[in-house]
Symmetry: C2
Subunit: 155 residues, 2 copies
Amino acid sequence: MRVSAKADYAVRAAAELAAAGEGPVKGERLADAQEIPLQFLEHILLDLKHQGIVSARRGAKGGYWLARPAAEVTIADVVRAVEGPIAHVQSTPPEAISYHGSAEHLREVWIAVRASVRSVLEEVTLADLVSGELPPVVGELTAAPEAWLASTAKG
Amino acid sequence: MRVSAKADYAVRAAAELAAAGEGPVKGERLADAQEIPLQFLEHILLDLKHQGIVSARRGAKGGYWLARPAAEVTIADVVRAVEGPIAHVQSTPPEAISYHGSAEHLREVWIAVRASVRSVLEEVTLADLVSGELPPVVGELTAAPEAWLASTAKG
DNA sequence: TGCACTCTTGACTTAGAAGGTCGAAAATGT
DNA sequence: ACATTTTCGACCTTCTAAGTCAAGAGTGCA
C-alpha cells in the first residue's frame, strides 16, 4: 500500500506538461523543474507515451506534450500507465480472488479500499492539480487534522 | 498502490486466529486453512508478534493467539505490522514531502488518498471481518457496480 | 532427565522493480 | 548532405518482495 517513486514522478511530470500548455517540452526541462533523474524520467515518459497520455517528437525542436486536454486526464490514468492496475492484491484484481474460511469477507474489504482510492484518483484531473482547485472529495478527506499525521491515535 | 502478498496473508492469518478464539493455534493449521506457505507465514507471524498483535508459545502445546480482543485489532494494525506505514510516497510520509512548481498541490492529493484508505482499514476490525458484519463505509463503497470491475469506464 | 514438539532466527535463492548508463534512431536547421 | 538535438530502447546494477532451508531455543510430558 505505497505509492512508488515512478508513479510520483509520472504525475509530477504530467503536471508540468499540463502547466506548459501547447508546445513540446524537453525532458531535461521537466527533470530540472521537478528534480527527477533525467534518464529515469525518460523511461517514465515512454510508458506514458505508450498509454497514449503524452506525445513526443525527436530532434532539435522536439520534446513531450499531453496527447489529450489536461482536464481529460486523471491522476488515475497516469498512475495506471506506470504502475499498472490500482490496488491489486498479490498482482491480482481483488474481485478475482476467492477467500476461504474466516477470511471470506476480506474480498469486500479490498474492493472497498480500491473503490476509495479510485474515488480520489479518478476525480482529480491534471487541470485540477495545476490550478489548485481540487474536487470536493479531496477537501473533505484532508479537512480532518489527523489526515495530516503520520500515525493515528491508535498507533 | 498495490497490496503485497505479505499483507494479504497477514490479515488472513489474523482472521483465522480471531475466529479460533482463546487457545493457541499452530502455524501449520493456519497455513493449511488459508493456503499460505508455512515458512513464509511464520516470518509474518513473527512480525505480528513483534508489533504486539499476536502472542506465541513454543513447544508441544504451543501456537499463536491474538494478544488483544479481535474487536480491538483493525486491519490497518495488521497491514502496518508487516508493510510499514500505509500509503507512503517513495518511502516517505506524504506530509513530509515538499512539491515544487506545477506539482505543488500533489501533496494534498496523496494525503487524501491515505485518508481514504485509512477510512476503510482503520474502521474494519478482525471481529467485523470474521462475523461478516462490516462497518457502513464498506457497504457504501462496494454498493456501486463499477467497484467490482477491474477497469472503469474511462479505462 | 530426556525427548518430541513447535516457535524463533538467520542465511540463502529467485524474480521483479528502482535507478542509472550507453548507443542507436529520428527529426530539425544550416 | 551534414551536424546537432532529442527521443528511443537495450543493457546493467542495486534493492526489495516472496519464498525456502536448516539450525537453535523454549515448552510440556513421560
